[in-house]
Amino acid sequence: MNENAKKHICNYLEKGVRYDGRKLTDFREVVIETGVSGSAEGSARVKIGGTEVIAGVKMAVEKPYPDTPNEGVLMVGVELLPLSSPEFESGPPNIKAIELARVVDRGIRESKSFDNKKLCIVEGEKVWAVMIDICTINDEGGLLDCSGLAAIAAIQDARFPKYEDGVVDYKTKTDKGLPMSKIPIPVTVIKIGNNFIVDPISDEEKVIDARLTVTSIENGSICALQKGGDSALSLDDVKTMVEIGLEKAKELRKHLKVK
């Protein structure tokens, strides 16, 4: 994307209008559907405008880490499938996929919304490992916020499989859900020139100066932050971006089913 394209987008933003007609801090339409994969213990499809991801939760019984013998294991992975964009290639996760997965993971982990101790079966020997995989279906920008929502929706949808005599019966689901007490939602606020926007489309993503992902829980507390982009931010910028992030998280939260 060249300088002219950036100028073009900036000119629009100065007038308070987006490339696609939205206001600066409008999200595209959000659609959440759960139970989209019968093979997974929990799953969800989230569409934000044209961007679409599927998240699935798999559970297994494993040995705990030696330093946390009475805690379960949580893992978040993101697959930027080459099926979803001409820009994604096959191969091991690249830095974009790794960052996405780690930011989503941190939001869930650091909000302590997940009671890992409840995932313990036999201390030091057997715990539940909860693996959340997010697969992109169509990338039209804003993958991070979409992935964050999908992970949460899939966790809410998840039910433990039957576990008896040391064997997991994946065909039989119990009605017990995952121990999730808080709901962390990431919102990525983007700075282009002097303007702040949310939910970028691909063209806007290519010309960003800086971005800040603000993950927050119901009571407005922030549980994870991640700054990206090549430019630095002033404290005032950060203040503005956090305000927008918190405000927008409230909106996105409404799309999730209330527990």
Partner: protein, 243 residues
């Protein structure tokens, strides 16, 4: 004895099928193919420039297929992301199954990439993947002579069956302490207009006569599947079901 199919189907009846094209907007062509509880998504990119350059062929384009299960799509444990021996082999036979219908000489030096993904599986995934891929190729406007319809056939106990599901594939019958013959599983891909076979694999145990009978049954089914595929393509352009 296997007297009645687990899900009550006729011996030559496939599971319910749904097909839809144009589901992934960033791709040049895309499709969803669902058969029973197996769901395949396919997207096509290209013809586009082929790198590394030494793979380029001035006579014809390259078809590159990639079969991949999403980590949560298996019926048991999580599938580790990334290619493995199984997915690499299936990618290769998928490519061979599609090649006979493509006019790749129209795309010198270029590549047509096909990516096939599964959010959930219940046996028959390579065949579902081939159906989705052939639809996505047509949706992308790639020059081709026909679609490819694929279905698994096989023998469970002494019955020739079409479109085995997971329970049938895993059927393990013991009668009077004697183990029954292993289930034969035969993935097939057929070019509907000529009846040619472009994918044929098999594992299990089956006699020569039964094999031919099974292939005949597969051919019949593939005609029906081809109709569903064609309808899905037409629907996109007549707007019957899309949006």
């Amino acid at each position: 004895m296997y007297k009645k199919r687990f899900d009550g189907r006729d011996w030559d009846e496939t599971r319910p099928i749904e097909a839809k094209v144009g589901i992934i907007k960033r791709a040049n062509g895309s499709a969803m193919f669902k058969i029973g509880d197996t769901i395949a998504y396919a997207s096509v990119f290209g013809p586009r420039e082929l790198y590394p350059r030494f793979l380029q062929n001035p006579e014809r384009g390259l078809l590159r297929c990639n079969y991949n299960m999403m980590p949560f799509s298996g019926s048991g444990d999580r599938v580790r992301p990334g290619p493995n021996r199984r997915s690499k082999e299936i990618s290769m036979v998928t490519q061979k199954a599609l090649l006979p219908v493509l006019n790749l000489e129209a795309y010198p030096n270029a590549v047509v990439d096909v990516f096939i993904e599964f959010p959930q599986t219940d046996a028959g995934s390579r065949c579902a993947g081939i159906c989705a891929a052939s639809l996505a190729l047509a949706d992308a406007g790639i020059s081709m002579k026909d679609l490819v319809a694929a279905v698994a056939v096989g023998k469970v106990d002494d019955k020739i069956v079409v479109d085995l599901n997971y329970n049938e594939e895993a059927y393990d019958h013991v009668e009077g302490g004697v183990e029954g013959a292993p289930v034969a599983d035969i993935p097939l891909a057929i070019v509907p207009s000529t009846g040619e076979i472009s994918l044929l694999q098999m594992d299990g145990e089956i006699s020569k006569e039964e094999l031919f009978e099974a292939i005949e049954a597969g051919k019949k089914s593939s005609k029906k599947i081809a109709e569903v595929l064609r309808k899905a393509l037409k629907d996109k352009f007549t707007g019957d079901t899309n949006e």
